[in-house]
C-alpha cells in the first residue's frame, strides 16, 4: 500500500513519502526548519477499515435488526438484537449495537467511553487560594467542606489522588479558620 502524504507542521508542504527518507530527515526540505520524524508500523499499513456488511442471500438467513437486507453476524451482548457487520461495534471485547453503545456512553456504564471527569481537588485548591484573601477563612473552610462532603462520591481523577487532595485543602482551610479564631480570642482576652 502506498503511504499517504504527510505535511510539514510548519509550512504544510508535503514531506517525502519514502520511509527511509522520512526517518533520515533533519529538517523540512521546503522550509528548512528542523524536524524529526519517527515512522510507526501504521504508516505502511494505512488506516484500518471496518468489515463490509454482506447482503442476505436466502430467506433462512438471520437479518440485521437495523438493516433488513443485511446478513446478521452477531447478537448485541446487551440487548440481544441481531447485528450486521456494519452495526457491530466492538468495545472491551463485547459486541454492542449503536443504541446500547450510546446509552452506555450516556450512563457512563462503559468505562472505555468515558471522555472526561471534573477535578474537584483542583476546584478545592482554587477556592483556597483564590477566595482566601477576598472573603476570609471561615467561608473558604465552609465552601471546601461542602465541596468535599457533597462530591465525595463523584468520580475521582484517574491520575492523581483527588479525594486525598480534597481532604488536604479542606484541612488547610479549616486550620486557617481555627488559627484566625485563636488570634481573635487572644486579641479579645489581652
Amino acid at each position: 500500500m502506498a503511504a499517504r502524504e504527510i505535511k510539514c507542521p510548519s509550512c504544510r508542504r508535503p514531506l517525502p513519502r519514502d520511509v527511509a527518507a522520512l526517518e533520515a530527515l533533519n529538517g523540512c526540505p521546503s522550509c528548512l526548519k528542523p524536524l524529526s520524524v519517527f515512522v510507526l508500523p501504521g504508516y505502511l499499513r494505512g488506516p484500518t477499515t471496518g468489515r463490509a456488511a454482506e447482503k442476505v442471500t436466502g430467506e433462512s438467513e438471520a437479518t440485521c435488526f437495523f438493516h433488513a437486507s443485511k446478513k446478521a453476524v452477531v447478537p448485541c451482548d446487551e440487548c440481544g438484537r441481531f447485528l450486521c457487520a456494519l452495526c457491530d461495534v466492538q468495545v472491551d471485547q463485547r459486541h454492542l449495537c449503536p443504541t446500547c453503545l450510546e446509552s452506555g456512553r450516556r450512563t457512563g456504564s462503559i468505562g472505555t467511553l468515558e471522555r472526561s471527569r471534573t477535578r474537584w481537588d483542583i476546584i478545592a485548591w482554587t477556592v483556597n487560594v483564590g477566595l482566601f484573601t477576598c472573603i476570609g477563612a471561615p467561608l473558604v473552610a465552609l465552601a471546601n467542606l461542602i465541596i468535599t462532603v457533597l462530591l465525595w462520591r463523584a468520580p475521582a481523577s484517574r491520575v492523581v489522588r483527588s479525594r486525598l487532595w480534597m481532604i488536604v485543602w479542606t484541612a488547610v482551610a479549616v486550620g486557617a479558620c481555627l488559627l484566625a479564631l485563636a488570634g481573635i480570642l487572644a486579641d479579645s482576652t489581652s
Binding site: R4, S10, V37, L40, G42, R45, A72, H95, R117, I122
Partner: protein, 190 residues
C-alpha cells in the same frame, strides 16, 4: 479495570515533561492503545488512540526557550546594573535610602533570574505531534526533545510488538444461521 491508572496493571505511564497548571498532560501505554490524559482547567479529559492507527510522531524543535531566555536576560541586565550602582552609591555616601532601593531592585532581579532559571531548566524546546490516518494531535505534555524522543521510541517499540498480531485480521464472527441454538428445547410454560 482499576479506577486509578497507576493501579491498573494494563497501563504503563510514559514519561512526559514537567507539569504546569492550569494545563498538563500524561500519557499511558496499554497493550493496544495509548491513553492521553489532558488536564485543562478543572477537567481531566481522556482520549484513546489505537497503536495500530498511529502512523508518525513528528518532533519539531522550537526556539521558544532561547527567545524567552534572551528576553528575561535582557530584563535582568538593567536591574543587575541598577542594584550594583545603588549599592556602590550607598557605600560611598553612607545614605541608607540607597540600600532600600538596592534591596527593591535586587528583589526584582532575583525574581527575573528565578524565571530565567525555570525557563532554562523546563522551557519548551520542541513541539510533538502524533499523526494518524485521520488526525494530527499536538501532544502538549511533550515539549522537551529528549523526553519526546524517548516517548516516540517507546511508542514505536510497542506498536512494532503489536504489528504482527495486528497484521492478521480478527476472525469474523460466525454467521448466526450457522450457530446451533443454545437451548433447543424450551421448558413448558406452567
Amino acid at each position: 479495570m482499576a479506577d486509578r491508572l497507576q493501579n491498573d496493571p494494563g497501563y504503563r505511564r510514559l514519561k512526559s515533561s514537567l507539569k504546569a497548571y492550569p494545563s498538563h498532560a500524561s500519557y499511558w501505554l496499554a497493550a493496544d492503545h495509548l491513553l492521553v490524559v489532558d488536564v485543562v482547567g478543572f477537567v481531566e479529559r481522556y482520549r484513546q488512540i489505537r497503536l495500530e492507527d498511529i502512523e508518525l510522531v513528528l518532533i519539531r524543535p522550537t526556539a521558544l526557550r532561547l527567545i524567552l531566555g534572551w528576553i528575561l536576560g535582557a530584563v535582568a541586565l538593567p536591574f543587575a546594573a541598577l542594584t550594583g550602582w545603588m549599592l556602590y552609591v550607598g557605600n560611598s555616601t553612607a545614605d541608607t535610602d540607597w540600600y532600600v532601593g538596592a534591596a527593591i531592585a535586587g528583589f526584582v532581579l532575583a525574581t527575573v533570574l528565578g524565571a530565567w532559571a525555570l525557563v532554562m531548566v523546563g522551557g519548551q524546546t520542541c513541539q510533538t505531534r502524533l499523526v494518524t490516518g485521520v488526525q494530527e494531535i499536538r501532544l502538549a505534555g511533550l515539549y522537551r526533545v529528549p523526553r519526546a524522543t524517548a516517548f516516540a521510541n517507546e511508542l514505536r517499540t510497542a506498536a512494532a510488538a503489536l504489528a504482527p498480531a495486528a497484521a492478521t485480521p480478527d476472525p469474523a464472527p460466525t454467521p448466526l444461521s450457522e450457530v446451533p441454538p443454545a437451548d433447543p428445547v424450551s421448558p413448558p410454560i406452567a
